[in-house]
Amino acid sequence: MEPTHSSNRILMPVKAWFIFLTFFAALFLDMIPFGRLTGLPDFVALTLAFWCVREPFKVGMGAAFLLGIVMDVVSASVMGQHSLAYVLLGFAASGLSRRILWFPLSHQALHILPLLLGAQLVMLAVRMIGGAEFPGMLYFLSSFTGSLLWYPLTYLLLMPQYQPMEKDVNRPI
């Protein structure tokens, strides 16, 4: 994989309330009860990875831990299962952020895939040690759908930052 040395567009600074809002929306999406449908991405993990890559100084392991606790409760799993996986995910994502952002979006998604898979593996290991049943290989499908969503997610979550500083009626965008 070759990094693109094309310069990135200079973005507006991100607003804290927008990050908060996206986490809230991701939690909401994860709470929608689809039953035992396999392959649904973990929206919270994906959003967390995104902000850890984009804003490693604003979103990090503390946010990951808190989101993990909430996910543990709403998904009725063992306390600490999601927080453990998310803290590791946050650490890896913010550690790799300077590297990942060099690549075009498709390669970024390839970087995110092992991170999401790693988080799932951690959760699997924790639950298997706790004596749960193996959910089948399709359990890992959600990481792949999650990394496929990286492309639309980037445009969606960066939309407010694409706005120009000064409103100019003659400007096309």
């Binding site: 709470m31 039953g35 409760v73 650490f91 300077r98």
Partner: protein
């Protein structure tokens, strides 16, 4: 290690280093895991977070509920008629027993009074709706729309019109969580209806159940119906649980491998009945006092 690849100048305060933070949060998460898995002492915090998340959860349930309603609205007349005939036939099949049940119960009561035995318990039930199955892919749990506000208590048994579904394992103010009998950690004390052989049935995952610790030469056949034995004082006696579908006796183990299928529609979404708790069983008689003292030494001190 720094996220920017180089150490920021000391006048920009960034807080503790990432590795330090990682170690701190990992330790915290592991502590939570051990506390919850081994000591089960985190229910209060779970209650608190669940209380805050409840309105959001109800709103998140709305799209699914709307889709369900729409599907019901458009379900064809033929399907409804078919369901109706099935229900009518089932009612006729059981009518014989149902009509005589009152008579039999009265007779049973009189006979029990005659024999001076303890009366059989009758417990009230409460109808609840299954909202959805929990997102956790490692366990088989469902969420009911009744909680502690409606008088649901952890430990209550949940049945549908055919048999046992599971047991209430966690109660929130407006919701409750039921662990299905097909969950790997769920055990139900049962007896074989045909000969009264008592044993314990465990969930085997993938919608099945398994009988452990039954000797290879035990009197059990394919097609045997297992009902609750009521020995634990939690499950009422005589509720249908499972049917034996396969027995492997020619294994090199002492125990036969017996696979069962639940009788109730365990994995379906429907209305269920949460049975009230029966009277507590009398306490177990105390163990006979050991006369000899443990030998002094390392073992005695523990």
């Amino acid at each position: 290690m720094s996220v920017v690849g180089q150490q920021p100048p000391p006048f920009f305060k960034r807080g503790p280093a990432p590795l330090t933070r990682l170690a701190f949060f990992l330790a915290l998460s592991l502590l939570l895991l051990v506390l919850d898995l081994r000591y089960h002492t985190l229910e209060w915090s779970r209650q608190a977070v669940a209380f805050v998340a409840y309105p959001l959860q109800r709103i998140a349930y709305l799209p699914v509920a709307t889709a369900d309603n729409a599907a019901q609205y458009f379900s064809s007349l033929a399907a409804l008629q078919k369901e109706n005939t099935v229900l009518l036939r089932r009612q006729l099949d059981t009518a014989n027993q149902l009509l005589r049940q009152e008579h039999l119960e009265l007779e049973n009561q009189r006979l029990r009074a005659l024999l001076d035995m303890k009366q059989r318990q009758t417990v009230p039930g409460r109808v609840a709706q299954i909202l959805y199955s929990a997102r956790d892919p490692f366990a088989r749990r469902i969420i009911l729309d009744n909680g502690s506000q409606q008088g649901i208590v952890a430990g209550q048994v949940v049945v549908d019109e055919l048999g046992v579904i599971g047991q209430v394992t966690r109660v929130f103010p407006m919701l409750s969580e039921v662990t299905l009998i097909t969950d790997k950690d769920q055990a139900v004390p049962v007896q074989i209806l045909r000969n009264g052989l008592r044993t314990v049935i465990f969930g085997a995952g993938a919608g099945g159940l398994e009988l452990h610790f039954l000797a290879a030469n035990a009197d059990i056949q394919v097609g045997d119906v297992l009902v609750t034995s009521g020995l634990d004082g939690v499950y009422l006696a005589g509720l249908p649980v499972a049917k034996v579908v396969r027995i492997d006796r020619d294994t090199p183990y002492t125990f036969a491998r017996i696979l069962c299928q639940p009788i109730a529609g365990v994995e379906d979404h429907d209305q269920v009945l949460v049975l009230g708790q029966g009277e507590a069983l009398p306490p177990q008689p105390p163990e006979p006092q050991k006369t000899e003292k443990p030998a002094k030494g390392r073992k005695g001190r523990r």
